[in-house]
Amino acid sequence: MATSATNGLKKKPLNLRRKTRLGEMFIQGLLFFSGIFSIFTTIGIVYELGKEALLFFQMPEVNLLQTLTSVEWKPHVGKFGIWPLVTSTLMTTVIAMSIAIPLGLSVSIYLSEYASPKMRSILKPILEVLAGIPTIVYGYFALMLMTPLLRNIFGNDVVQIYNTASAGLVMGILILPLITSMTEDALSAVPRSLREAAYGMGATKLEVALQVVLPAALSGIAAAVIIGISRAIGETMIVAVAAGAGPNFTFNPFEGAETITGHIVRISGGDLAYDSIDYNSIFFLGLLLFVITLTLNIISQRIVRRFREVYE
């Protein structure tokens, strides 16, 4: 401007616009890349698993119809029926959930409604320890303690050394802390005023817990159960150690039967040759697991979002 030139001082016009800082932009770019990296992981999973699964179905020995209908999975004679793996997966999951749901609900109701703060401060770390034990240790436990126990109770000729019942029961113990902590969060989120209103009406503690708090937290509990199922389907080491090697189409929980995850672990131990039929089949089975667990996780998130009771 004209006046600034006259008094000899070179005064620049004050620039209040935001500076472009290259360093900051570079850092922001890096951070954005880190953020978007997880999307690449998902794309990687879908692409790699999908690609190899397609190759699996292009093999001359395999056809889609047979895979979906046959009850025999015998790779060495070219039979790839998915059902024996699916039924044993379902069986271990059902057994696990029949332990984990009632126990998990009871423990979480006890923790959130009955236990004193001191009791809770003792019990919650114990559950955390239970949740932090690696699954292979649970596998050892299933084979070394649960199986002999079942064999003692039902007889050695009824219960085989490897069986889905033992794996399922121990898996229930594994999932118990997960269901308990999610359910307890849901129960604690129910506002105090609801409980107090019920007490004011003359309800007993049990009635408050079961008829007021539990229904109010139902969406959270449903989400916990679904996450538990998804975890049980994807659980690997317990079934790999204790449920038996070899696909077996059976509904007898005392017989050995290989689950989807157990099968993947068994055939990929050792150097699996690339592009062999076994190599491609684990990608198909992996894709199946991915789709099932992803669907369950999404359903669980939807339930929470749609049915959550919102209190101010």
């Binding site: 990687g44 999973i45 126990l103 423990v107 239970l130 050892y140 084979l143 080491m237 131990g269 690339y274």
Partner: protein, 413 residues
């Protein structure tokens, strides 16, 4: 209009309701006790197998291997090598030398080979802690009658020697040094890979991301990835790190191995696979830690003219760091216990050499537990139990450090 029904003789039944209240209370408590009992049973089960009597025989009596009156245990490395050369076939000796030259081997390693190949200790029977304590006399009688040649000893399978010895094929001489080092090497690469990307992603999501479809997609995606079964990550690792990136993960592009023998089933591939697995956990925990830093701190920093990155680097991150580190430690303890993805990626189970570089073959503690648990011989069950104890002690110390970190540095605003 409907007629309203008014209960004049409404039965309150206080007693009945209270009774069922007490009954259910017992059920809830009993369930909790069942959970605790399961944990106790699990730990006792492992302790039971980790200690106890073992009866073992030697194929060749070590006393006969003394040279010039020096017993086997005290011979020098050169004497031991000479012993091996004289007792083993030249083919077997040369193979050992080819695996790793004898000049480079330690004395302990050579002694172990002597024990394994010449003395050949063999376990004939093991007893668990409970029966060792309660039926001691009976066990001694059985051994004296059935295995007169055997030595009977009460041992702890978990010893300092067990931790420092490399792996071998005999239960009584095996150790977990190879597996411990394998676990540590793998975890090192998991951290190097997942920590920067995980914290970066958390900063991006908490500080930079505006509410648009892409960022919502990233958030949902991270939550979904956290629920993907670990074995799926193993399959992904097999396809990407082991196969597609084989030149990198085998060290071929660095000229370390020949292209014809390159194999991507290495420490590096395993570490990166576990890195992908724990990434969502690190991101979610770091996001929570960053969110807990109060807004007033950021505003004060902007108020004195700091840029966005200066604010994050000097104020947000230092305050969130204890939370971020705690979350990372928890993610690491998850990674240390993972077995399934590493089996799929291709851990080697029978190696007795320590991993020395990112491109070494590897085995880890959980892999060894799986391997030993799957063997039919009962003595390997005891070895597996001792390995579980090593793993649990490692996890316990990690978790303890997380708790200390949380208590020491946590601040409240």
């Amino acid at each position: 209009m409907k007629e309203k029904i008014i209960h004049t003789d409404y039965n309150v039944n206080i007693e009945g309701r209270n009774r069922s209240g007490t009954a259910w209370r017992w059920i809830f408590q009993a369930s909790t006790i069942v959970g605790i009992l399961a944990l106790v049973a699990l730990l006792l089960n492992i302790m039971d197998a980790s200690f106890g009597y073992v009866a073992y025989e030697a194929k060749v009596n070590p006393a006969t291997l003394a040279s010039n009156g020096v017993p086997l245990e005290e011979q020098s490395k050169e004497q031991l090598v000479a012993l091996l050369q004289s007792k083993l076939s030249s083919g077997a000796f040369n193979k050992l030398d080819k695996d790793e030259p004898f000049e480079k081997r330690s004395r302990a390693n050579v002694l172990q080979i002597v024990n394994e190949r010449i003395v050949k200790y063999e376990v004939v029977q093991v007893w668990d802690l409970w029966s060792s304590l309660t039926k001691s006399a009976e066990i001694k009688a059985t051994v004296a009658k059935d295995f007169p040649q055997a030595d009977l000893k009460f041992i702890s399978w978990l010893t300092a020697d067990f931790i420092t010895r490399p792996q071998s094929s005999e239960a009584i001489t095996t150790g977990v040094r190879t597996a411990i080092l394998g676990s540590l090497w793998t975890i090192l690469f998991t951290i190097l890979f997942a920590f920067p990307i995980g914290v970066g992603a958390a900063i991006y999501l908490e500080e930079y991301a505006i509410d648009n479809w892409l960022n919502r997609l990233i958030r949902t995606n991270i939550n979904n990835l956290a629920g993907v079964p670990s074995i799926v990550y193993g399959i992904l690792g097999l396809a990407i790190f082991v196969r597609t990136l084989e030149p990198l993960t085998s060290g071929e592009i660095f000229g370390l191995v020949d292209a014809t023998t390159a194999n991507g089933r290495t420490v590096l591939a395993a570490g990166l696979t576990l890195g992908l697995l724990v990434l969502p956990i690190i991101i979610i925990n770091a996001q929570e830690a960053i969110r807990a830093v109060p807004q007033s701190l950021r505003k004060a920093s902007y108020g004195i003219g700091a840029t966005k990155w200066q604010t994050i680097w000097s104020h947000v991150l230092p305050n969130a760091m204890p939370g971020i580190l705690t979350g990372t430690i928890l993610a690491i303890s998850r990674a240390i216990g993972e077995t399934a993805p590493l089996v799929v990626v291709g851990a080697s189970t029978a190696i007795s050499f320590d991993p020395t570089s990112p491109f070494s073959k590897f085995t880890t503690l959980p892999i060894q537990i799986y391997q030993w648990t799957s063997r039919p011989q009962p003595e390997f069950r005891s070895v597996a139990a001792a390995t579980i104890l090593v793993l649990l002690i490692m996890l316990l110390s990690l978790n303890a450090s997380a708790v200390v970190l949380r208590n020491r540095f946590s601040r409240r605003y």
